[in-house]
Point group: C2
DNA sequence: AAAATATTTGTGTTCGAACACATTATATTT
DNA sequence: AAATATAATGTGTTCGAACACAAATATTTT
């Protein structure tokens, strides 16, 4: 098992290795009779191609292009970049090279420009986070026409037949946040859902999180117990941001818990610290350094880690799986919703391990 | 980078490929002068052997032996077995074969017998959970003498120079359980640490968990707020088990939380359900089907997943990394402490993905 | 029926590393 | 100095799959 070779098949089917090869790859023409005979033997012997030999001989270089936001503009994107580079290193052996096309997440034109550059380079595969939805559509068309597989991550659009989407179940993560909030609040109180958003493109995401969060309380018959309110904050204007929060706090004396749908929980934590408020629990997203800092201080209670590094890593891996190993990849991969506290934090910030396989 | 071959080195160093090969493997004799010259070129060109070519030509079969408890006796061991089989499947390409030697975890003699069988088979590498410490020592000696690398998992003994230890940080997991308990109890109350143990061999483990748990409250100045008590229960005698719990519940009216240090949280959950007690929160370990059942019902609040499947998986992978790829593996690998609730459960029970790399 | 063309099948080289074996250079013995 | 031993280096085959090319059939055209 597992060590049947093309020659074995050839001899058993009484043909040459070349013919078996043609049958395997639908290359050249093979008579129906022979083809069926060979296919039967392949099936009977349970043939599995030796991927090492295959990779060795097909001396192709697979250049994957990654279209990603500049982490210097939004540090959230540092983790995917890391994941991408990790995967590249792991796959170097298989002649996989990743070119990064970095754009400014606040500048549509930069996005388009880089997407064009990327397309012009005619890569074997593409990984991207399509944060500008509308602008991405024409590229999807082009890539499909050129038979270039693309994998999406972070932003869930699966309508356009990517090779795969890798990301998070936003709704479920909100639902989970609901559980964590409820678990920490034995008594009735007010709970705030805060969207601290800078780009409209995230809106769909955030709404799903809010929905999941609210539905947790509905499904568990807790709507009478808790008063759930919402707000949208803009931290570009710091004075305004503070003012908004001040009035919220003042008008909501029984506010005990805040769920921040973006990775900006640290903004709220910093505000509360500044105002010396300690009785409000905070649940947020993502292991940004600033979030981690407040998590360690105890100012943030939980962070839901959506594994942005894993997203980059798996994105590249899936492309390689498809291109190099010609194996099927799942259309949808949801990464685990990790609940992170101060106490188990270091397991999620540590480097992942390289795996050798198949 | 990454595509320098032996021939490249040979031509640059003005020797033959055979000589380069001898230098690389310290095989045969090579004059000092030539050796140095070749080594310099290897370094200069930053040569990295092509693992595919290597694996292809070295037609060795690596038979790894796994000494594991029978999951039919204790279902905890089903997950490591799964992980082992997953890894075997992933590594099949590299001619890695895993033989499982299954013993009865309640029978030392069965353990010894299987360990002897395993040793007699003269495997290339060994994976084991040394749950009978004393009895394992002589085998360690033998294996070391025969240069057979062994990887330990689940039970933390690193004194005897295994290739690697893969497991969990028991202390830290107890500490984490402390956090989760405290987070769910705003008001002073009594907290119970319950050891439901059947084997002495686990004692060290369980004590570390208890220590971690207690230290959480000490370090956070919470000892005055909570009354922490402990008990050791034996579920072999069901009547006795129930009686003990009955008296505990009766004598501790403000008992609000139970931390079970073993994977037997479901026993307590079942008891509480039977007695119609709903106000006591439960934190336990491991995603056994019975635990999952109570987690889904809401009777168990959190399960800490110590990733037993991952332990088996990584154990085999590390051995392969060492044997097949001749790469260094970390002496110690702690797997993440996953916090599992009903809401994120399915991400941890799902099959892991196969990875292709290096 | 012979020639031309199309279809089917077989052979040989390649990828990079490992290792057996052959060959050459150097040292030691007689 | 010749014979022999030993050390140093080179050559060629192997692993399994892919693909170019060559050869052998079969089919069509003249």
């Amino acid at each position: 098992m597992g060590n049947v070779t093309i020659k074995d098949i050839a001899s058993k089917a009484q043909v040459s290795a070349g013919t078996v090869d043609r049958v395997l790859h639908n290359r050249g023409r093979v008579s129906e009779k022979v083809k069926e005979k060979v296919l039967k033997v392949i099936k009977d012997l349970n043939y599995e191609p030796n991927l090492m030999a295959r990779a060795l001989v097909s001396n192709k270089i697979y250049n994957i292009a990654a279209l990603i936001p500049d982490y210097q503009v939004d540090s959230y994107w540092f983790a995917p970049k890391q994941g991408i580079e990790k995967a590249e290193k792991d796959l170097q052996q298989y002649r996989v090279v990743v070119d990064q096309y970095v754009f400014n997440p606040y500048d549509v034109n930069s996005y388009i420009e880089k997407a064009q550059e990327l397309t012009a380079s005619n890569p074997s595969g593409i990984l991207l986070s399509p944060i500008f939805y509308r602008e991405t559509l024409p590229f999807f068309e082009k890539w499909k026409k050129n038979n270039i597989p693309f994998v999406l991550f972070n932003t869930d659009i699966i309508e356009h037949h990517p090779l795969s989407y890798i990301g998070q179940d936003s709704y479920q993560s909100g639902f989970l946040a609901g559980r964590l909030t409820e678990y920490g609040q034995a008594d009735p109180c007010t709970i705030l859902i805060a969207h601290i958003d800078e780009e409209i493109s995230n809106a769909a995401h955030l709404m799903k999180k809010e929905q999941g969060f609210r539905n947790f309380f509905i499904q568990n018959n807790l709507v009478d117990k808790y008063n759930i309110i919402r707000t949208e904050l803009n931290r570009n204007n710091f004075a305004e941001f503070t003012k908004q929060l001040d009035s919220l706090i003042e008008n909501t004396p029984d506010l005990k818990s805040i769920f921040i749908t973006t990775s900006k929980a640290y903004e709220i934590a910093a505000y509360l610290e500044h105002r010396h408020i300690r009785h409000i629990k905070i649940i947020g997203y993502d292991l940004l350094p600033k979030n981690i800092q407040f998590l360690n201080k105890g100012a943030i209670n939980f962070l839901i880690n959506q594994n942005p590094r894993g997203q980059g890593y798996w994105g590249i891996h899936y492309l390689a799986k498809h291109l190099v190993f010609k194996k099927e990849v799942p259309l949808l991969k949801y990464l685990p919703l990790d609940i992170v506290t101060k106490e188990n934090l270091n397991y999620f910030t540590a480097e992942e391990e390289t795996i050798y396989s198949e």
